[in-house]
């Protein structure tokens, strides 16, 4: 009877110690701050493409009234 009680207690102690340690480890992993990864398109993607070419100048011209061209 004494042995059974001893075994039960040690198993509980073991589980308590092991479970506590693993929970603490999980919490540490979960709480470690990681850097936010927002989309950074870079300078090549962001650069201006618009150029006032002859094609675009013609678009602006034909949209004006003739007296303003």
């Amino acid at each position: 009877m004494q042995d059974e009680k001893q075994t039960a207690l040690s198993r509980r102690n073991f589980l308590r110690a092991f479970g506590g340690a693993s929970t603490a480890a999980a919490a540490t992993v979960a709480l470690t701050p990681t850097e936010a990864l927002a989309y950074d398109p870079g300078t090549e993607e962001m650069r201006a493409r618009y150029k006032e070419t002859e094609h675009i100048k013609a678009f602006y011209r034909v949209n004006r009234y003739p007296e303003h061209k």
């Binding site: 962001m46 618009y50 675009i56």
Partner: protein, 198 residues
């Protein structure tokens, strides 16, 4: 630096929907998505007006503000673009947009939305300019070719203007001084926090 804008002159729009068709064809837009739409107000009644609407490339874009994966970015031309590689199709941008611009292909199973699609001001996306990959995802990159969005370029009544905001505002002012103010620069206050003063 030039700031790209759209301006629909509602006094000239005749609801021909050619801008919608041109956009779909130029960008190979999939079934079920219209990057541009023509909205008619007071249809069939006196004072009827039609407005061609798409993404207005807002100054402080609400779509970008609500995106949980931060897939939007604004180019130096002030064009609002997004990365389809990052988009998770959550639909927040659709609810945030005052113009109803973001669209979803709905090609997945169980009603999933798929990657968001919207007007790119005919300037492609984050992939390398004028490549097949860019075209498949985002459509044509006319801006890199020295051209403007096709919807505006082929508008038969010269209702839809696109390009440098200052130049198209000047063109609109000339029209207003000639014919009267009319319905104003539709959507400009919402998108750019300003309007065309005369």
């Amino acid at each position: 630096m030039a700031r790209m804008k759209f301006l629909c002159d509602a006094e000239r729009c005749i609801e021909c929907n050619a801008c919608v068709t041109a956009c779909k064809n130029e960008n190979d837009v999939p079934w079920g998505i219209n990057r541009r739409r023509v909205v008619t107000i007071n249809d069939g009644k006196p004072g009827e007006r039609s407005v061609s609407m798409a993404c207005m490339h807002c100054t402080d874009a609400p779509c970008a503000a609500v995106c949980p994966v931060d897939c939007f970015y604004t180019t130096e031309d002030a064009v609002v673009l997004h990365s389809k590689d990052l988009c998770i199709g959550c639909g927040y941008c659709f609810y945030a947009c005052p113009f109803g611009a973001p669209q979803y292909p709905r090609t997945g199973n169980f009603g999933s939305r798929g990657k968001m699609d919207k007007c790119t001001f005919c300037s492609g996306g984050p992939d390398t300019d004028s490549t097949e990959v860019e075209y498949d995802k985002y459509g044509a990159n006319r801006l890199a070719e020295g051209k403007l969005p096709l919807c505006a370029e082929m508008c038969s009544t010269k209702s839809l203007l696109a390009g440098d905001g200052e130049i198209i505002a000047a063109i609109y002012k000339e029209r207003v001084t000639q014919r009267g103010y009319g319905s104003g620069a539709w959507g400009w206050q919402t998108a750019y926090r300003e309007t065309v003063g005369v």
